[in-house]
């Protein structure tokens, strides 16, 4: 911990919000990969984390999907948990009281199918002192629009962001979906709609077939791809979003070590989240904090913000760019 002391790792993820979201370091445990925090107590020193994000909470209790819910994929995994959770009402009874005794900021991830449900959950969380911020998961089907995913469309993403913004003064992180064709335009839209910060990426939709059984391996058929396999896509999206918006960006997708984390910071992320990496290596998030401090020190930086976006030409330029070019299409 002594090593971690030297450079300033603190980060403010809601500079324009009076109920600020200031973290002592930029390493956050990702939603769905850290339960409600207690699961990892005793394994790692949770209070050293910059913050952690809860499993996704929904308006009603959900039993989740039948098994199998997870399967390995090349350098990654597929999951289709089905948002198993006690629902917002069961949730607030149980977890915020426990978190109130911890020093680590707790962020609540919320998912719904209706704009009004998102707003309802935000209003409930607004009154929970132990809730440090809300992470709005827009990778959900908007049943009012035939199920088209909120996160694929700038207008729909902005609509739900605006509704949640109106329902709470809590720091609001909007978590983007990598299914959006033009991720930067969604980012700009949610920024204008009142997001204090933007996190990305959520899982990409994938599938694996059990050749012996001749059917999809997951009971749900499709599942979310996470882990190192998606890292290049995540870094690219963080790079594009960090150039388009001015609010802090929280990057994630396949972070397994310091070099991966640095890729995200250099691309423009002010903080990072670790998900699948925690399953593979529970000690990873704490080690990242120490390794990051040591690296900054060794490279002669006195604070983290000195490296955020330094590999990104257009960082926070917010300038209008063509929707796509050969270059941005990776050709």
């Amino acid at each position: 911990m002594s090593t971690a002391a030297t450079p300033d790792l603190s980060v403010d993820l809601a500079p324009d919000n009076s109920r600020e979201l200031r973290l002592r370091n930029p390493v956050i445990a990702a939603s769905g990969c850290f339960g409600y925090g207690e699961e990892y107590s005793g394994i790692i020193d949770i209070n050293r984390l910059g913050a952690f994000v809860s499993k996704g909470i929904t308006p009603e209790r959900r039993a989740g999907n039948p098994m199998p819910r997870i399967v390995e994929s090349p350098a990654g995994m597929l999951n289709a948990i089905g948002l198993q959770n006690p629902g917002i009402h069961g949730f607030v009874k149980k977890y915020p009281p426990m978190w109130a005794r911890w020093t680590v900021p707790a962020i609540v991830n919320i998912s719904a199918e209706l704009v009004s449900d998102y707003a309802m959950m935000a209003a409930i969380l607004d009154e929970q002192p132990a809730v440090a911020a809300i992470e709005l998961n827009v990778s959900c089907p908007n049943i009012a629009r035939g199920g088209y995913c909120f996160g694929w469309d700038p207008l729909m993403s902005a609509e739900v962001t605006r509704a949640v913004r109106a329902a709470t003064t809590l720091p609001l992180i909007v978590k983007l979906s990598p299914g959006a064709p033009n991720i930067a335009s969604v980012a700009v839209a949610v920024e204008e709609a009142g997001a204090d910060a933007i996190s990305l990426i959520n899982t990409l939709v994938g599938m694996a077939i059990d050749v012996r059984a001749r059917k999809p391996l997951l009971a749900n058929h499709t599942g979310g791809v996470s882990g190192p396999a998606i890292k290049p896509i995540a870094v690219r999206m963080v790079y594009q979003v960090a150039a388009a918006v001015r609010v802090p960006v929280i990057g994630m997708g396949g972070i397994m070590g310091l070099n991966d984390a640095l890729e995200f910071f250099l691309a423009g992320a002010s903080a990072i989240q670790v998900g699948t990496g925690i399953f593979v290596d529970p000690g990873l998030p704490i080690r990242l904090i120490d390794d990051l401090a040591r690296w900054l020190d060794g490279e002669g930086f006195s604070s983290l913000d000195q490296i955020v976006g330094i590999a990104n030409d257009g960082f926070r330029s917010g300038q209008e760019r063509p929707l796509a070019t050969w270059e941005s299409l990776g050709v």
């Binding site: 990969c33 339960g35 005793g42 050293r48 989740g64 350098a75 593979v280």
Partner: protein, 291 residues
């Protein structure tokens, strides 16, 4: 970082003392349940399987219970494929040498990797994880039934039961004689009953077929194997039980990611709902499992 202090003031006042900080020393002692083991020996058993013996901190051995498992790194360093750890039940624990033995059957990429390790190599461990088999203090006669590598946790359970002077019948089934556990692996205080599909040793047929004779003798039944075996077990035992006695505990096998109850990827559907088998399992009362 004034802001931080200000922001957290409310919490600083009432720190949670249940959340003890995890120190590096806890990691080396295994108190955090994440530690590195050294491979001590790898010996062939049951045909293509191996007995993998690794070092483990005393703190780990002292709290280890039969039926618990470890989530083991089965990957070459520097490679992210295959990615996930694999859960393995403890076959036997050695307090004298501060070591653990696992029974690993090469199946896919992870188990193949694990069964090819050499003495001296390091392996990443997370555990002990999960609940355990519970022997009622009123029980004197224990019936074990294992299929394939499913015998692993039953061997540790039998070791302890025999040491505690309990009567144990250990039924094992396999395709052929080679697939069977050598009798020498079990204490001679244990009655070892075997069945093989081809009749090359013991009863010709399934282990569940010889089970009947022992059900009413037993105070408790402990089983570990594939799920189809549990269906047969239930069918065979049900008619012979008197008001749900003897009780039946089974170890359920699920693919896992975290091993700590965080991902909910390993749930078992029970009469109590979807239960994380890595924390409230892998051992379940067969009566509450929805197969």
């Amino acid at each position: 970082m004034a802001g931080l202090v200000a922001r957290n003031a409310r919490w600083e006042g009432q720190k949670d003392y249940r959340l003890l900080p995890v120190t590096p020393s806890m990691e080396s002692t295994g108190a955090s349940r994440e530690f590195e083991s050294q491979v001590l020996s790898v010996e062939p058993i049951m045909g293509d399987a191996v007995l993998l013996t690794v070092s483990a901190p005393a703190a780990v051995l002292s709290r280890l219970k039969p039926g618990q498992f470890f989530n083991i790194v089965t990957r070459f360093p520097g490679s992210w494929d295959p990615l996930l750890r694999r859960p393995y039940s403890v076959y036997r624990s050695h307090h004298d040498t501060s070591a653990l033995t696992f029974l690993v059957r090469p199946f896919g990429r992870g188990s193949a990797w694990l069964s090819e390790r050499l003495p001296g190599e390091q392996i990443g461990m997370l555990g002990p994880l999960g609940n355990s088999f519970t022997v009622s203090n009123r029980a004197q006669r224990l019936l074990m039934i294992g299929g394939g590598v499913g015998v692993a946790p039953l061997v540790m359970l039998s070791d302890e039961a025999a040491t505690n002077g309990l009567d144990v019948v250990f039924i094992m089934g396999a395709a052929t004689e080679d697939g069977l556990l050598a009798a020498s692996e079990l204490s001679n205080r244990i009655e070892y009953v075997v069945a093989t599909d081809d009749g090359s040793r013991g009863h010709r047929g399934l282990a569940t077929e010889v089970l009947g004779d022992y059900v009413q003798w037993a105070d408790q039944i402990f089983a570990c194997g594939p799920e189809p075996m549990y269906r047969t077990l239930r069918a065979v035992v049900e008619p012979l039980r008197i008001n749900r006695k003897p009780g039946i505990q089974v170890s359920m096998e699920r693919g896992m990611a975290c091993g700590l109850g965080a991902c909910l990827g390993c749930v078992v559907e029970t009469t109590r709902g979807m239960i994380a088998s890595c924390v409230q399992g892998p051992v379940f009362d067969l009566d509450e499992v929805i197969l």
